[in-house]
Symmetry: C2
Subunit: 203 residues, 2 copies
């Protein structure tokens, strides 16, 4: 088994944190996205969509998409449960993980990819107007998240879950994107300090 990993990108980090929370170690191979190694013919045979990360099983089967890789390991090692247990909690974790993807991780990524000079050859075409359309959506969603975190310890309720991992990676990706978390979002700041202090956050 081998995980194709990239140190700087937020999606591979989601998988590394997930594995650290599970206590699972997987051999990794670094793919340098800034050097366009994910666009080479070699990596394209691994993932025709040229996205990172990807997991190669011992029989050669490839699993791409961060959350698909996480679900594979959740099924192999159900504890600690990071996708919830019981119908309602499973649905709430899925809801908040997706809300944090669609409204935070993806919106931050759109701003980053469509404004950052380093992305000029990786995001073609860069559409600056699309970055600016997304910029206010980041903060709009953080306000909704702040209201939720006023009522719960974690993003999807009282237990740490994959939704916390997605939100942490998205918020930390705001730094290179040069968007700050507004100071008045005290619940987001309290939660961020807590999840960023877990050993898994360094994975």
């Amino acid at each position: 088994m081998k995980l194709y990993d990239s140190r700087l990108a937020p999606n591979p980090r989601r998988v590394r944190i997930f594995l650290a929370e599970k206590g699972i170690e997987v051999p990794t191979e670094q793919v340098d996205m800034m050097a366009k190694q994910h666009l080479t013919p070699e990596y394209t045979t691994i993932n025709p969509l040229q996205r990172m990360p990807a997991l190669e099983l011992d029989d050669g089967t490839i699993i791409s998409e961060s959350i698909a890789i996480c679900r594979y390991f959740e099924a192999l090692r159900p504890q600690p449960a990071l996708f919830g247990t019981g119908a309602e909690e499973i649905a709430i974790v899925e809801m908040w993980n997706r809300r944090c993807e669609l409204n935070l991780l993806f919106t931050v990524a759109h701003v980053f990819r469509h404004t950052h000079p380093a992305m000029k050859e990786l995001e073609v075409p860069q559409v600056p107007a699309w970055a600016e359309a997304n910029r206010p959506r980041v903060i709009d969603f953080l306000r909704i998240l702040d209201a939720e975190l006023a009522r719960h310890a974690f993003v999807a309720g009282d237990h740490y879950s994959v939704a916390d991992i997605t939100a942490l990676c998205a918020i930390d990706f705001m730094k290179p994107t040069r968007i700050a978390v507004p100071d008045e979002l005290v619940n987001v700041k309290r939660w961020h300090a807590e999840v960023a202090a877990r050993p898994s956050a360094k994975a």
Copy 2:
């Protein structure tokens, strides 16, 4: 229990097809998105993100995000399994469902929302350059899907799954978006005819 549903949008259709495949009936309330009913204060209290669909449980709990709603019913009624069974199949279904969302449903939706005159007040601002950036990605992904469907009966392998539902809703949403499936993609066309003929497709 009540499902907030919109007849014309692709995401609520995903949930209706999923429920039809499971043989589950849920009372629905129509929310007219073209009349901006999903932007009213009433619906915003149900889903602060103002997205459709949403499921209201008998205790008042709200589950939004189509796939979160589907997972709720999968947990309540596991058969037929539409998210796969066993670690590897679960991961493959998740991978293909997400690939079909990110590269097909979302790209088609970006073209629709950023070009269609009827969306002028719902997608603010419309960014035509972003629509044009996405238009070729729709066809690029359909070629990858066609290669997969040359080897398998269904999107995620040999069994019908939620990935087929996402792909069907995305491809049918190409019609109002005025993008055609290229004639040479014979495997996509074979598969589409089959899944569109299932009774659930009319849900």
